[in-house]
Point group: D2
Chain length 457, copies 4
């Protein structure tokens, strides 16, 4: 086994990002075994330039990494071993429509970027962008590993494979980690010896689709901890356990009391493994009937105005970083991207959950559908583990989404607007009258039409 | 091929019925090739006795059939070649709860006997009765053909096979015929030569589950009529075609304008083949958001008080028939039971749709799940035809119901109340908050608890 | 239902045939309800011309059918509703190689046209011809019904669908009828009242692949006759029942004592439904180790010199028929082609076994593979029945052939000689050493290379 | 992660073994992180006692392990965390019949313990013993990990799960390692820098069934080495590479020139991953037509008299070891059992190939069938990796064996002798006439009937 890989070429699409990109920059700075170049590509070139500056400052001394903003996608991909895709499809104006337009029809979304009316419209403007990206990867760097962070995750990964079937892409998301942190907290509470359990010490079997993922088996040091989790859920089902699972610096809007998670466990016997805000969106309006229902279950709907404020603050921070007025914080992000890159570079195997086409991982979900489950990372290789069959009630909740996602992938490939509306309509969140559904779809299309020219009547 | 079968032994469970039993009596009276005995078994023995009198009057002269009310199930099944099951599980008081209790939570059901909260509760009291029936058939007449008419159809048939896997049972329903009648009307309108097309002249490919059945191919005299149907749906999508599809004497509450059917065709490209009242119940509240939504789509919710009135009238009519004050009308019912019995007796093969476990009929629905599709009836044999794969969007709408029905079958076999609640909850109609769902379930249990002792906490 | 169809356009590819074509001509002459034109296309135009003369003589008076030899395939297909394909791929010289070359390596084939080394080589020269035919049908008469009689049946049908997936083709073979005749004989013997049972009165469930087809259920007048068949097999397992199953005028070389059939039933519990000569070829050399083994089991290997003699006699007979020296015998052929054409023309539905891609008929064989099972013929429609799962031991014997056939279909589409050799090798009959297999393949290629230019090294 | 596990309780069934047991004893002696007790159970108690003595001598100083011969199976299993099963089913007299009786009918087996007539008969006497073992494990130590080394591997593992579905059993075999060693040799030759590559440095994707396992992907330090392997096979296809793959001390009878392996690769495009002697037995007699054919392909048939001699020598050696006349050699065995035990004890995860029921590993082999593929070992857990679909030609060769193995598992559970004969017959090696097959089966039964009382006529 090698000890270092200092000649990596990373291409970052969405390289002007001030969230995921900064996380990566921090993690790369903290990892001495890796080095090379990072090409930053963004439609906001200026933002990429700022990140170039910030990134290179981090390595002024050791020169381990060289950051470089580039003006074209092809230039960015040229020579890449690793491609990271983390883009905002459209602007916050479009997200405003995704999240809040449905509220006028009594449909409340906590996030609005995965499923539901918001997720569908977001996908409708994202997939045309992914069409460009997938083709470019196939042309310029077909052997590169492609890591997707963009939402809607499942559709982005599914569409990459649709356009370029030979792609070596997978999708990463930290939502499962949150539930692992809940379990780690539980163990700390239970062991009672002050020991601090890290989520990575818990071995979980992950199965499902992104943001609607489940853990049916979990162990710590070889011992099954699901019975303990059952008691934990029973104990906290009413009070919840606020804040757990979220990253330390998460704003209130991103936190939850985990009561939805506990309620789902007590009902279905497997641990739902995503933030409550995401989980609730995959279901009929059990937890999202009204904003008040959500509040009662211990979570908040994230208003887009909050995201605007967040963006504004980050832009200011970026300017300060560029001007050197403040120092970049080298804090581990909690993400696993860098650990995965290390494994792919031959610096140590490990198992974690990612999103990949189903090749046997979950035999009772359709073959080829993108699913989230454990994968073994090794030198230039990823090999999915068999997660096993989903319990039938969970399968019943999951399958309509899987089929919807397969239909929307097809619909995008065919520019088929009518099929896209069928997907919009088939979502379990769409508990409204047919005429209202038609009106809402038209309205959401109208508000975001700058990004929808792909779709043909 | 034989010409007659005059030695049949039919056992009618629910033999005091004044709807399906009378239909059968009329059809048997009109069919000279069949004869034998009909054992009438009913928990209301007096009602069965009345039907015995009415039935025997029909054959005073020809003595072809002998009707006989019997006091026990085993006696009724003894020697039977054909068993017909057509029962009301519980009374109209329970149906009152099934249909109207959910309205207090904003859930409106047009029928309330198949899926949705009403269908689930109805199943919960029916399946324990079917447990008794299936065991008795296995013991007394295991080789008999068993025809089920009781709702919820899918669950009744599914449970018969669960308890006695060797049973030769199938489920019959006339809902598909209604859509065939719509197509026959369309052909009459289109041919324009005054020709009257009978629904049986149209060859349809039927696929789905009972009351949520679809026709993806239809032909008349060898010609594909789906393009014509597409134009027909387009033409009448707004106005609808009132009354079509229903039996001649159907009350207003059982009729519809077929607008839901046309809307679904235009959306999904296959003809939904059941009354609009049934179809709407399998979907999120697109057509059932409020009673007003339903009315706008051209159908009515059937109030249980209407059924009470109907029952009262039929009881009066029965008394008059018994006393000979009025004559029994020998009108063909439009049902196919007698035609099926003829075919099984070796008097002519034919193809029609029934409900059976999936053995390949619909490869993209789970094996073993009860589905509705075409079957070839022949001498002592029924052989399903391959219907083919469901189109994906229809599969997406159907699968959650199929899985729910498999879960409720299991739940009943295990007396598992918690699993039954999961089924109750997973229904797409349940677009209410979780706490309300729990309260509603408890309330509906309470109101019908006389029939729910089977289920264990 | 109509009473006649007198405007049919049949295209007969291989129209110079003196076997299948004469059978068809006899059956058409005997069926008053059908009429129209038959275009005869053959690479031996003169033979087609002779059949034109013979055919038109049959209808000198009633003019119901007009036979017409044509010079090109496109002309023959033009306007066709029905296309019949019944060709000899290559000449008897090639068949000589197919059948007899392997004997030098101790591989004995009874027929040599389906599987085994002979079947593979025969397919290798047939499929390129079918490539031409399938494309022409797609271009000239895509909506026509296509009936294939050519062997290797499964591969011919499979390849038609491979090249033109929209084709409405099915494959017909009389081998199953033979086993039905055995069962009819058995019933006659058993009933003992001199009653003559016709094979069509027996309802059988057919499953498998052509020439290796099985009957797992059979009934007569509604009664299961499989227990009777078990006793029959037991009774005659040693003596056999000579001649049964074959057509009346079959030569000794086409007959068998049915001992293989009985032995397979006693071993596997389902009735093998093809002539013993065909059945034996699908198996390891259990019944074909040597010519002596075959003789001991009551059947003969058909030498190609016998076929040469047969051909010579038929050519003479043809000349005499053309010259009017002898009269064409209007004897029913026992084939079902004309009955199928009647049904497709809307003159009466019926169920029989044909070869079609698996769409659910046999769930434990691969989807899309061509299988033989029952199908319901109706007006311009054929609908397969669900045959059900094959019993596992029979599935184990069948699957290697199915996979081989799928591979050879692919191999032909790709002109892939190496893949064709893999198929040649994987056959259970190939119980020879690897080097011998290579030599034999090369030798068989060499002897028939006039027809193998399609295949690329 | 812990550093040691010194409290293990291993139960060794077949603990008098002088092959596998000595390997384990050597490996345990060399692994300082593990310790505990080893209960040795054997029907030859004296042999177990000798191993007790030998084992305890190894730990005279460090006392890490305590070996203890016990007299009953239940006693041996009591408290076990790990159960190892490695037995000789019957004696070498039975093996003599397995291997050599078929030779009288022209069937030559190189090993005779897996498939073919010898494998089937061996299974027929082994599975009744496994019935006892599986029940005892279910009763005494249901949570123990069970490692099977006995052949026929697939059937042993399959039957353990059949009898006790909750068992945590897997099967281990070193045959794949041999092919990995061939690849390591190839890399050494190719790199040309004197570097010595260890087989564990090569990452392979393993798929198939035990002794007929395939590698379709292999990489070294992240680079695909399959193109190199293709050239290697081409280069050595005629000369072979003698001795490679075998363990250093392997006798001539266990060695091969790897020519079968290379020939299969060149034919099927995937690397057959077992010794040639095993591979050849799964195929028609391509490489085993005669002993001479085998010799030409570079391998030998192992005569049972050689095994007798081997046994005799080991018995002598055992006596000397017990008496202390010679020293036990502490040489690593090359087996992975101890590494697996370490991983299960929480001392480090790793991936290797074992035999387990198919839960998605190989989607185009039947679910539940025991397959060999990669598995991730971790603390008290084993998780299979998705190996993916088998290439179709390999699937065609494998499926008949898989179905045979499923049938023999069923047959054993039902004591069904007739079904066992069907399995015997269905083997591709059985290229003999049916009557000979019957005679041979009867003869092999007769010669080994002491162990066959389980089977009912």
């Amino acid at each position: 086994m090698k000890n270092t890989a200092l000649d990596l070429n990373i291409c970052y699409i969405g390289g002007g990002s001030r969230a995921w990109a900064w996380d990566l920059m921090a993690d790369l700075a903290l990892e001495p075994a890796l080095g090379g170049t990072v090409a930053l590509y963004d439609i906001d070139y200026e933002a990429a330039r700022q990140n170039e500056t910030i990134g290179n400052k981090l390595h002024e001394t050791d020169k381990r990494w060289r950051y470089c903003a580039v003006r074209t996608l092809d230039e960015a991909l040229n020579g890449a071993n690793i491609v990271i895709i983390s883009i905002l499809p459209g602007t916050l104006d479009e997200m405003e429509s995704d999240v809040h337009a449905p509220e006028e029809y009594g449909i409340y979304q906590a996030v609005g970027d995965t499923v539901g009316p918001g997720g569908t419209l977001r996908a409708m403007r994202t997939l045309p962008m992914y069409d460009v990206i997938a083709r470019a990867i196939g042309r310029v760097c077909p052997a590169a590993w492609v890591i997707n962070y963009t939402n809607p995750m499942t559709l982005c990964v599914s569409y990459l494979y649709k356009v370029f079937p030979g792609i070596k892409a997978f999708g990463c998301c930290h939502e499962v980690f949150g539930t692992q942190r809940v379990m780690a907290y539980m163990l700390g509470e239970s062991l009672g010896d002050g020991r601090k359990v890290d989520r990575t010490e818990i071995e979980t079997n992950v199965m499902g689709i992104n943001h609607f993922t489940w853990i049916d088996k979990a162990s710590y040091r070889g011992e099954d901890i699901m019975p303990l989790y059952a008691r934990f859920c029973e104990k906290y089902k009413d009070s919840g356990v606020p804040g757990l699972g979220a990253r330390a610096n998460s704003a209130e809007y991103f936190r939850c009391d985990n009561r939805v998670k506990f309620d789902l466990f007590l009902r279905f016997g497997a641990a739902a493994a995503a933030g409550d805000r995401h989980l609730a969106e995959f279901l009929p309006p059990w937890y999202l009937k009204t904003p008040e229902t959500a509040r009662r279950w211990g979570f908040r709907l994230t208003p887009v105005r909050y995201r605007r404020e967040q963006y504004r603050q980050r832009a200011e921070k970026s300017a300060k970083l560029v001007r050197g007025e403040i120092e970049f914080e080298r804090t581990p992000s909690g993400e696993e991207g860098v650990r995965q890159i290390k494994a792919l570079a031959g610096l140590g195997d490990f198992v974690t959950n990612v999103n990949l086409p189903n090749a046997g991982q979950i035999p009772n979900l359709p073959a080829g559908a993108v699913v989230e489950s454990n994968v073994c990372f090794s030198h230039n290789n990823i090999r999915p583990l068999v997660a096993g069959e989903m319990p039938r009630p969970i399968q019943a909740l999951t399958l309509p989404h899987v089929l919807n996602q397969q239909m929307l992938t097809e619909a995008a490939a065919n520019h088929d607007l009518s099929a896209a509306f069928t997907v919009f309509l088939n979502d379990p969140m769409m508990s409204i009258a047919m005429d209202d559904a038609k009106t809402l779809f038209a309205e959401m299309m109208r508000r975001t039409d700058r990004y929808l020219s792909w779709w043909k009547q």
